[in-house]
């Protein structure tokens, strides 16, 4: 019931779209999309994406992602995936704007790209054409047609659909595996996306079973033409080529083209290499593998790199693995290698002669999507704090605001924010080796922490700087003034009546206790002299010690002046020392931390 309602709605909406075709429909569909009128946006966007009526530009890409968004909103997830796969297969540059589209579209687009990368097709054997419907019909099936050829070709579509050249089949929209074959020719396997109401024509030029394979490596990269037909950017791996003589041309943006003629034998593999610069890592095993890649042995080189335990530690090895995988049309593997490369070394910039424009675009896109940050500085350098600043290079993958924190090594120190720098790709921060109060940083270790934060994640990286002051001759601070330099700030005041009463009372009590015990008849005295002596002593001691303390303001002022003068002299010394410290060269040894 719900499906029928959707079909009726889409049919009504389609009727309104009949008047608009091509990019006009795309613009109209965009308007409806922006108004959240998804029912009407769907047929308009579908009609407007006809690749035959305009360039596959940014508007076209935005149209695909909006159509996918609409379909996902309408719970047509499978159809959204089919459209995204179709766009990814049709346009290698197709990508969705991950900053704008909903996460569900981003996930679907990534899955579509991975699917297409894992189901490559040989563009020289199979070409596809599309017959776009004048009006979009939601319930319409997709049509696949096998173009007639001068040889008796047959195709198997999916599991159970067979057809001959010139025949067609109507099938539900989706992705289908197809195998096209003919007696005496190499069969070809391909994946095709059928869109609702769209006729997909497969034009197949099968190669004879005796065809050879061509491998071409060039550095700097070039565009390869075989018999005047553009094959693509180098490297080229496993390009099928018929037996016989062929003319090859390598063209570059600058410099003359390079022409040669080859004669291909039956089932012969021909490997051609034009290498002007070779990579080395210093590890013999890895270098041997890189030499194999330079010789056009892509499969062996990729296998050897993957088997090597330490290739992941070398950016150049990861870059070469990506390049070779790309040439083998293992695009998903190539992108995985590029992601590892960006994460391993955010500073790595592929040499301009290594990555062809397609691979470079993929690298830039992956770098732009990957939240990663790296910081580095010279491992051993000498700077003068009041004259120089220590340059710290910062590299990020995904652009963002980098927050830099200073962490002193002293126990209990807290991070202080040094700067917030917007970094697009690379930036340099000049670190002043002074504290906020202008004094020189103390010798020892300090940490510089870089952090870039995005919604849902982020990255951080740290540098540890070991500062060693090379030489310094500072004036010693003054020793504290001796206590005898100060005057007493309090003195005993006159005794109050209460103090006198307490002292007399205490002395009397001390006297009376033994006096009571005393037998006058025996000792001859009612109060023994010794008891009197102790009692009076206690009274006098209590009286003298409990007199109130009076502050002598004159002495307080005198002492304060003494202290202020001492501190002033020390401040002057400290200022002179600080100037000397800031002018003293500091050796900085850096090491990176995670």
């Amino acid at each position: 019931m719900r499906t029928w309602r959707l079909v009726i709605l889409l049919a009504i909406a389609a009727a309104t779209a009949r008047a608009q075709t091509g990019r006009e429909a795309l613009a109209a569909g965009t308007d409806r999309y922006l108004l959240a009128d998804y029912q009407r946006a769907l047929p308009l966007l579908s009609v407007g994406l006809n690749p035959a009526v305009g360039a596959r530009d940014q508007n076209w890409s935005r149209g695909v992602e909006r159509l996918a968004d609409v379909l996902l909103v309408l719970r047509q997830d499978a159809l959204a995936a089919t459209w995204l796969r179709w766009a990814a297969r049709l346009s290698p540059e197709f990508t969705v704007d991950e900053d704008l589209v909903p996460p569900a579209v981003v996930r679907a687009a990534r899955a579509a790209r991975a699917f297409v990368d894992s189901t490559p097709r040989d563009p020289f054997v199979v070409r596809t054409e599309f017959q776009w419907p004048a009006a979009f019909r939601a319930a319409a099936p997709g049509i696949v047609r096998l173009a007639a050829a001068n040889i008796p070709i047959t195709a198997r579509i999916g599991a159970d659909q067979f057809m001959r050249g010139g025949e067609s089949r109507s099938l539900p929209p989706g992705s289908y595996d197809a195998v096209v074959s003919a007696p005496g020719y190499l069969p070809t396997r391909l994946t095709v996306e059928l869109l609702p109401g769209v006729e997909t024509r497969l034009r197949v030029s099968l190669l004879p079973e005796t065809a050879g394979a061509l491998y071409v490596v060039a550095r700097p990269w070039a565009t390869l033409l075989v018999d005047g037909q553009t094959v693509g950017y180098t490297g080229v791996a496993g390009h099928r080529i018929g037996p016989g003589s062929h003319t090859l041309r390598l063209t570059r943006d600058s410099g003359p083209a390079w022409d040669t003629t080859i004669v291909v034998g039956e089932r012969q593999q021909i490997r051609l290499a034009w290498i002007t610069r070779r990579d080395t890592t210093g590890e013999p095993r890895l270098d041997s593998t890189l030499r194999a890649l330079d010789a056009g042995e892509f499969e062996r080189g990729v296998e050897a790199l993957r088997m090597s335990e330490r290739f992941g530690e070398h950016a150049v090895a990861l870059a070469r693995l990506a390049e070779a995988s790309w040439a083998l049309r293992a695009r998903d593997s190539a992108r995985a290698s590029l992601r590892r490369l960006v994460a391993l070394d955010p500073f790595y910039m592929p040499p301009v002669d290594l990555f062809n424009p397609d691979l470079r675009a993929a690298y830039d896109r992956i770098r732009h999507e990957t939240p990663v940050i790296g910081m580095r500085t010279a491992p051993d350098t000498v700077v003068v704090p009041d004259r120089d600043a220590l340059p710290i290079e910062i590299a990020v993958g995904r652009p963002g605001d980098v927050r830099l924190y200073l962490r002193l090594a002293s126990p209990g120190s807290r991070d202080s924010l040094l700067a917030v720098i917007p970094v697009e790709s690379l930036a340099v921060f000049r670190l002043a080796l002074t504290l906020p109060d202008g004094s020189a940083l103390p010798s020892g270790s300090i940490g510089i922490q870089g952090e870039v934060v995005f919604p849902g994640g982020g990255a951080r990286h740290g540098l540890t700087l070991n500062l060693e002051r090379l030489s310094v001759d500072t004036v010693a601070h003054m020793s504290p003034l001796p206590n005898t330099s100060y005057r007493p700030e309090v003195t005993k005041g006159p005794a109050s009546w209460r103090t006198v009463a307490e002292a007399v009372g205490l002395g009397t009590a001390a006297l009376m206790i033994p006096a009571i015990m005393n037998d006058k008849g025996l000792s001859g005295r009612s109060v023994p002299l010794a008891a009197s002596l102790v009692g009076v002593s206690i009274a006098i001691a209590d009286l003298s010690l409990n007199r109130p303390r009076v502050t002598v303001q004159e002495n307080v002022r005198y002492n304060a002046t003494q202290r202020a003068e001492w501190q002033g002299r020390n401040r002057s010394i400290a200022a002179r020392n600080a100037l000397k410290l800031r002018g003293t060269p500091v050796r900085v040894r850096a090491r990176g931390t995670t």
Partner: protein, 230 residues
């Protein structure tokens, strides 16, 4: 022999149990004492008074709120005038313990043996004393005044007629200057003994005492000089 060994083992066990807990608050003190004793006696209608000087020493061991001390003094007493009373030697030893439940209050228990010896004979009293001591700082912990009252029970003696009991009192003033190892005190002690009515006798012993002491305290794991002597 076996009893002595068991006693020795018990003492070791006791020391092992007490020492770890008490290490932080222990102190040892020693004092030199000079006193001016005076003994007054009345038998029937006859009264005799002798006074003189004695000197001696005292040692103390302080653990937390407990103080154990022992002292010994010896001197000579002479009559004040030609009264026919014989000159005599006097000596006293005492040992006891003190517990301070509060800084201003202490309870003291002590055994005292005091003897007089003259050409006419020898007299010795063995006494047990128990008393309370109150004390107070006089404006500063450096100077402290104290007073005590004690009950004395004569346990045994060399005479036929022994007192039923005695009462004693002591007042003193102690000074322990900071950053100075010595401490000083001035005290007066009086003891009055009550005899049976039939004995027709009363007796009083008093002494003015000056002492100089040295105290060693356990502070932060080290023995340091200074502080008030007990």
């Amino acid at each position: 022999m076996n009893a002595a060994r068991r006693l020795w083992q018990a003492a070791l066990l006791l020391a092992a149990g007490v020492a770890p807990a008490a290490l932080a608050g222990q102190a040892v003190s020693g004092r030199v004492v000079v006193g001016f004793p005076k003994s007054s006696l009345r038998v029937g209608g006859t009264r005799e008074r002798v006074d003189g000087v004695w000197a001696g020493a005292a040692v103390g061991f302080h653990i937390a709120s407990w103080t154990f001390s022992a002292s010994g003094t010896r001197g000579t007493l002479s009559p004040s005038a030609t009264s026919g009373v014989l000159e005599r030697d006097v000596g006293e030893i005492s040992a006891g313990g003190r517990y301070e439940p509060r800084p201003w209050l202490a309870v003291d228990g002590r055994f005292i043996a005091r003897a007089f010896s003259s050409a006419a004979g020898r007299q010795r009293w063995n006494m047990a004393a128990i008393g309370v001591i109150g004390s107070r700082d006089l404006g500063t912990p450096v100077v402290r005044a104290s007073a005590s009252l004690a009950y004395l029970q004569v346990l045994s003696g060399s005479e036929q007629a022994l007192p039923d009991f005695g009462l004693g009192s002591d007042v003193s003033l102690a000074v322990a200057p900071p950053r100075f190892p010595l401490a000083f005190s001035l005290g007066y002690r009086v003891e009055r003994f009550q005899f049976p009515q039939s004995a027709g006798r009363s007796e009083q012993f008093e002494t003015l005492t000056l002492s100089v002491g040295l105290r060693v305290r356990r502070l932060d794991g080290r023995w340091v000089l200074g502080g008030r002597a007990e």
